[in-house]
């Protein structure tokens, strides 16, 4: 049996789905019912899920410790309706004894917060009613976005059906250049394969440049797998993941990885050394190109933060560029730490001082401007460069506004220049 199983190996995605479905092996295209380790919802999606949960006639959640409710999109509540949505979540959490309801003061942007709290370990299966739930693949977990009805079903039963996806492997050889980070690698990748290039599939990231990338950089990359249409993004857990989780979790976990003879539907190989800092032009993340080709585009606003780039490493990169400089006159630069812990760390390291001295504003953690919610909405004709993940029509405000996507280095440099520039230009 063992010998036969080894004829064709499994990818990490397949292994995790198989284990959670109680099966020895699965193949792409199989339909499985799998147990979930964590179910997530936010202040937009959880209210719908809670109503569906109640309409289902469910009386209790499958495990109150395996549900996380994070009000982050329109918080601190921007209006009465948003306050009512969070109230619904808060009451539901109380009623069902859900401890992982993160009230203001504890909350952060969900995909920055949950890894930081050690709530995901390698080998986990996570579903969340937020498309960027794919972020946790950075820790070697299978993690995917679902809708509110699926969230309700998962809260009630602790399981959900899945079609096992084919896996595309992306190998990044070589070393990263100066000012090139996870954001640049993922924008480059989406530019190569398009916004539906990995539709329904798993994106697996490996190679020398990936091994050298921090866990934070990997979280940034996995976060944007959905922008290529993927079901999940995934990385092999390594010593860096173990180090990241030390002190964050007491759970034991196994370091599952893809078999060497696993089957891939496609394999792409890139030389990381060839990849320059990237910018994605409106109105799709696939419109990425080297920043030099976009240089000189005037901007009105800069946003540094979000579930893609709201971690301490991102703020350090931005501060390194802004230190001792000024945001150009007429440019609004908004910095949003992803969580309270990131915020506090940024205060302690003097980063917040750097930002304020440079003329930027620093906000409490929120998704806010990324989705045109609040804290930096654009008017018609305005243009922003943002470290967020989507530049769709109207994403940050008026349908006639524009969003350019980049990593924190390019965004901070552009704030200083008042137009899109390469970081080297301002140093």
């Amino acid at each position: 049996m063992i010998a036969r199983d080894r004829v064709v190996g499994m990818t990490l995605t397949e292994k995790i789905l198989a284990r959670h479905a109680g099966r020895d092996r699965v193949r792409p295209g199989d339909f499985v019912v799998a147990k979930v380790d964590l179910v997530l919802g936010n202040d937009i999606t959880a209210p719908v899920a809670i109503k569906e949960f109640e309409r289902m006639g469910a009386e209790r959640v499958f495990d109150p410790d395996k549900i996380a409710l994070v009000p982050d999109h329109f918080t601190p509540n921007k209006d009465i309706k948003s306050a009512e949505q969070v109230q619904l979540m808060r009451n539901f959490a109380r009623k069902h004894g859900i401890m992982h309801f993160f009230e203001l003061g504890e909350m952060g942007i969900e995909h920055c917060l949950l890894p930081e709290k050690g709530m995901i370990v390698p080998g986990d299966l996570v579903v969340g009613a937020d498309s960027h739930t794919c972020t946790y693949g950075a820790l070697g977990a299978f993690s995917t976005g679902v809708g509110s009805t699926d969230m309700a079903a998962a809260m009630a039963t602790g399981e959900l059906w899945f079609r096992v996806p084919e896996t595309i492997k992306f190998v990044f050889n070589g070393r990263l250049g100066r000012w090139v980070g996870g954001k640049d690698l993922i924008l480059y990748t989406i530019g190569k394969i398009g916004v539906d290039g990995a539709r329904y599939k798993a994106m697996e990231f490996v190679g020398e440049a990936i091994s050298s990338l921090s866990v934070e950089g990997r979280l940034t990359m996995a976060n944007m797998a959905i922008e290529a249409g993927a079901k999940n993004g995934i990385f092999m857990p390594d010593e860096k993941v173990v180090e990241y989780l030390r002190g964050r979790t007491t759970r034991s976990y196994e370091m599952l990885t893809s078999d060497e003879d696993a089957d891939y539907s496609q394999v792409f190989e890139f030389d990381a050394g060839d990849i320059e800092p990237q910018v994605a032009l409106p109105h799709l993340p696939e419109n990425s190109r080297p920043v030099k080709e976009v240089a000189g585009v005037p901007i009105d606003q800069v946003v540094i933060g979000s579930c893609t780039n709201g971690r301490i490493e991102d703020l350090r990169v931005a501060a390194d560029i802004l230190r001792g400089k000024r945001v150009a006159r007429g440019i609004r630069c908004i910095v949003i730490p992803g969580t309270q812990a990131v915020y506090l760390q940024a205060v302690r390291e003097g980063l917040v001082e750097t930002f304020i001295e440079a003329g930027a504003v620093v906000s409490t953690p929120t998704c806010g401007p990324c989705l045109g919610g609040h804290m930096g909405v654009l008017a018609a004709g305005e243009r922003a460069i943002a470290t967020t993940n989507r530049n769709f029509v109207g994403r940050m405000g008026h349908p006639k506004s524009e969003v350019y996507l980049s990593g924190p280095a390019v965004a901070a440099a552009s704030a200083v220049a008042g137009e899109i520039v390469s970081p080297e230009e301002v140093l």
Binding site: A129, L371, V393
Partner: protein, 166 residues
């Protein structure tokens, strides 16, 4: 089940922010959401659309956010079904779960023009273009999925099964 209505054409990669902009997501009321359906793709869409009409779009329809509000608002706006070259994964799953019929049919997407009158036979996946006098075939929805849609979505479907079993 049969749907008859006017075709409204949209291009590739119609994302969920175009279907229902996030600025309206401080509510989950279907009728309130429906008032802004497709607003950032066509600001007058809800004024022009009639009950039973059909959206015909290109590739990757519904890409972006996981917001179930997207298929909810399309359904509440009176759209009887969506035909596209392909659908984004989460949108596809959400549509079935809330009971919005969807069909992948490149043949129809290549031929149907804005304003054509269509008749969609859900069970067979047969799409008749009454304006052009042509027919296209889509992969029919499975019987299980047709039943979920007939029951108004997954929750209604489960409730009905639970009640039948009780």
């Amino acid at each position: 089940m049969k749907a008859v209505g006017r075709a409204w054409r949209f291009g590739d990669n119609i994302d969920t922010d175009a279907i229902i902009p996030a600025r309206y997501l401080n509510t989950s009321d279907p009728q309130e959401l429906a008032a802004h359906c497709m607003e950032d793709a066509d600001p007058d869409f809800v004024k022009k659309v009639s009950k039973g009409d059909i959206i015909v779009a290109g590739a990757n329809f519904g890409c972006g956010s996981s917001r179930e509000h997207a298929p909810i608002c399309i359904k509440a706006a009176g759209i009887s079904c969506v035909i596209a070259r392909s659908f984004a994964r989460i949108f596809f799953r959400n549509s079935i779960n809330i009971g919005l019929p969807i069909f992948e049919c490149p043949e129809a997407v290549d031929d149907v023009e804005d304003g054509d009158k269509l008749e969609v036979h859900m069970g067979e996946g047969r799409i008749v273009n009454l304006t052009k006098g042509r027919e296209y075939s889509a992969q029919p929805l499975s019987e299980e999925i047709q039943q979920i849609i007939a029951d108004g979505g997954l929750v209604g479907h489960i409730r009905k099964r639970v009640q039948a079993g009780a």
